[in-house]
């Protein structure tokens, strides 16, 4: 499954350890939430980067004490119709200022890219290769957005005012 990060298809540097298998010390790994929470101390001492796979039914505030030591949070879309992780993503980015990799996993299709991107995701495990290679085009399809989100867009109402402000300024100079 292709991984798109910051607009490019890359090899996944992370190893997924989803069972109780030992975690190599210097490799980048993704572990399930329970394992991270149970062995938080051990993970903090590792040399390699640590990421967590966080369920969409669990409050992301539980993750706050660990965020500083995490380089990646992977959120889950069991089907594209289940949009809970959009809220989790925005909360992680906007409220808890998480700056690491925020990865969308599960049923990820091209027509969600823009929503995901705007909600704060910067990495995507894409189901279809054709979708992955279309990523950049799809993201650029829209140039205007009405609402602020985790992508730093400002509110349309605000931008219009700024725009009108600068236009009337030009007018008054003429």
């Amino acid at each position: 499954m292709p991984l798109v990060k910051n607009g490019k298809i890359i090899d996944d540097p992370y190893l997924r350890v989803l069972d109780d298998a030992p975690v190599p010390d210097d490799t980048a790994v993704i572990v399930p939430a329970e394992r991270l929470l149970a062995d938080a101390g051990d993970f903090a001492l590792r040399a390699g980067r640590t990421g967590v796979l966080w369920p969409n039914a669990r409050n992301v505030s539980d993750l706050v004490p660990h965020l500083e030591r995490l380089s990646l949070v992977a959120l889950i879309f069991p089907t594209f119709r289940d949009g809970r992780a959009y809220s989790q993503a925005r909360i992680l980015r906007e409220r808890y200022n998480f700056r690491g990799e925020l990865r969308a996993t599960g049923d990820i299709l091209r027509d969600q890219f823009l929503f995901l991107h705007r909600a704060g995701f910067n990495a995507f495990e894409v189901a279809k290769a054709t979708d992955a290679s279309a990523f950049v085009d799809v993201i650029r399809r829209f140039s205007v957005f009405y609402q602020p989100a985790a992508d730093g867009q400002s509110i349309a109402l605000r931008r219009r005012l700024d725009h009108t402000g600068s236009r009337s300024a030009t007018n008054s100079m003429a």
């Binding site: 594209f80 119709r81 289940d82 949009g83 809970r84 959009y86 809220s87 989790q88 925005r90 409220r95 299709l109 027509d111 823009l114 929503f115 995901l116 991107h117 705007r118 909600a119 054709t130 399809r141 829209f142 140039s143 205007v144 957005f145 009405y146 609402q147 602020p148 989100a149 992508d151 400002s154 509110i155 349309a156 109402l157 605000r158 931008r159 219009r160 005012l161 009108t164």
Partner: protein, 552 residues
């Protein structure tokens, strides 16, 4: 009218391009119908029993003459020469071909129309009073806030995959014509003790399988906080609403399960964190949107001018129409005119391409180029000078939209039912048609007074049967069409769900039963002007039941 600027136009254009690409991928086979489904749904394209159906958003029910003309063009060019106005102030075309859809969208886009927010589990087209901006009993124009919410919710990155669809309605009048208590969020603009205007916020209303009247979770929300508060509600719902069972996924179930108080607490906790952020509105935002609404330059006219008085006294049919279809306007010398899309024997809410064109022209001539769509599936010309009413009436008569039955027994709300809808248990349009024939005598209808009949072809309740004074719900019994009748529902500020009359009746008997119910009302009413709904309130359903089932 709200005037699109470059920003709004760009977004619609980009959306059309995207959809053209999606249809191309479907036609080439790159997308299966299964994969295409969510994409078309996000543009208002449904697959019905016989064909694709396109639902077009008419934000807060306001249309320009130009837009109406475009709808006529679509009906003629791509459909079977008619369109259907729905209870959600939208328009549906029932016979559109898949390969035509991108062109249809492009044509619509030229008039600022589109299908966004008319389907899918997102925030749907925001609805409001069809008399917004002209009703004498409103404190301000609620469309300003509907537009602010429309923009905020359009292609929202967090709330496009909610547990279920989400409907918001706003009223700013003392009489609620927007049915705000039966919406996921209902907003009522009102003044607090200090004279400021703000919103009463209700959540968890809705019809369908488990109907609820919305509960007030905030008595007064300042305008600056509207977006942040709505976002807090949506965020709580997006995370905690049920996704395991489609019938329990609406916010009303979450509100009911948690209790309104606990739900309000959750919302408040979320809101406290975001209320002073990017979503806080200042008066300049509302002023900017208000400035984009074009209001007519009314003349200074007197009420009840001579032309009107003369015509009224010399023509009884005109007088009847006047008493029935005209409402008071907040500007003197003007009137609000309702155009009945409920002719005898016609499917409720249908308009032909010719009618749409004529209405567009008449609106241009007599209503400052503006038309409204009401949730009762009628149209409205909102700014007609009273002196023009006699001439306008004649023209409306010619095109068949001057039946003086607005608000009366034959002004029936009905969903598409089994004639179109793939979810239907039963037909509903033919029932409505038959009832308009039974109650064709307008003198009788006027004597009966205000009486709302609402018909749904299944429990999804698109015909809002729970809140009809008489509600008719189609159910299936051993492969046959049966109908449950309820009495006493209402959608206004005293919103109430109807009570069941008795056992369901077969298709062939529905019209007879409704006639019996109405006859019972005439016997039971205390005085000639006691309305049907008042009689039901006073005596309950029991006396009706006795009468109807005694002989069955």
């Amino acid at each position: 009218m709200y005037l699109y600027d470059d920003f709004d136009r760009t977004l619609v254009d980009e959306r059309i391009d995207e959809f053209r690409d999606q249809v191309a991928r479907r036609l080439s086979g790159e997308l299966t119908e299964e994969q295409f489904k969510p994409l078309r749904l996000m543009n208002g394209v449904y697959l019905q029993l016989h064909a694709y159906m396109l639902r077009i958003a008419i934000p807060y029910g306001t249309l320009s003459s130009e837009q109406m003309r475009m709808l006529a063009h679509i009906a003629r060019r791509y459909d079977r020469n008619y369109g259907h106005f729905t209870t959600r102030q939208n328009l549906q075309f029932n016979w559109i071909k898949l390969e035509d859809l991108p062109d249809v969208m492009a044509d619509l886009g030229r008039a600022g129309l589109h299908g966004m927010q008319t389907s899918g589990n997102c925030v749907r087209n925001i609805t409001t009073d069809q008399w917004a901006g002209v009703a004498p009993d409103e404190i301000e124009d609620p469309r300003i806030w509907a537009e602010i919410l429309r923009q905020h919710s359009t292609l929202h990155p967090e709330f496009s995959f909610l547990p279920r669809k989400f409907k918001i309605a706003i009223t700013a009048a003392s009489h609620d014509r927007a049915a705000v208590r039966v919406h996921d969020i209902g907003l009522r603009l009102h003044r607090n003790g200090a004279g400021e205007t703000g919103f009463e916020v209700m959540v968890g209303g809705g019809l369908g399988r488990t109907p609820f009247i919305g509960k007030t979770i905030k008595a007064f929300l300042p305008k600056r906080d509207l977006l942040s508060y709505v976002e807090a509600i949506l965020r709580v719902y997006n995370q905690y609403g049920r996704r395991d069972n489609i019938y329990k996924a609406r916010i009303k179930i979450l509100v009911h399960d948690l209790g309104a108080e606990a739900f309000a607490k959750e919302v408040d906790a979320e809101w406290q964190v975001i209320k002073d952020g990017a979503l806080a509105l200042d008066p300049a935002h509302a002023a900017d949107i208000t400035a984009r609404f074009r209001y007519p330059e009314y003349e200074r006219l007197d009420d009840n001018p001579e032309e009107l008085r003369k015509a009224r006294s010399s023509n009884r049919r005109f007088a009847t129409w006047l008493d029935n279809s005209i409402a008071n306007h907040k500007v003197s010398g003007y009137a609000i005119v309702t155009l009945s899309l409920k002719p005898e024997g016609g499917p409720p809410g249908d308009a032909t391409a010719e009618q749409m064109e004529s209405i567009a022209a008449l609106a241009g001539r007599y209503s400052f180029g503006e038309i409204r769509v009401g949730h009762e599936q009628n149209l409205v010309l909102p700014h007609v000078a009273q002196r023009d009413l006699p001439t306008l009436w004649e023209k409306l008569e010619t095109i068949g939209v001057a039946t003086p039955n607005v608000g009366l027994v034959s002004d029936i709300i009905a969903c598409p039912g089994l004639d179109y809808c793939s979810l239907a248990n039963t037909r509903s349009i033919p029932i409505a048609q038959e009832l308009t024939r039974r109650f064709r005598n307008l003198d009788v209808a006027h004597d009966l007074g205000r009486l709302h009949i609402n018909i749904s072809g299944c429990i999804n309740a698109c015909g809002h049967h729970h809140v009809g004074h008489i509600g008719i719900l189609g159910v299936e019994k051993n492969g046959e069409e049966f109908f449950q009748i309820t009495l006493g529902g209402r959608a206004d500020e005293q919103a109430e769900l109807g009570a069941l009359l008795g056992p369901a009746v077969p298709y062939a008997e529905v019209a007879d039963v409704i006639e019996d119910v109405v006859a019972a009302y005439v016997e039971l009413r205390e005085r000639p002007n006691e309305l049907f709904i008042e009689t039901v309130n006073r005596v309950g359903v029991e006396p009706f039941k006795e009468r109807v089932y005694a002989t069955r």
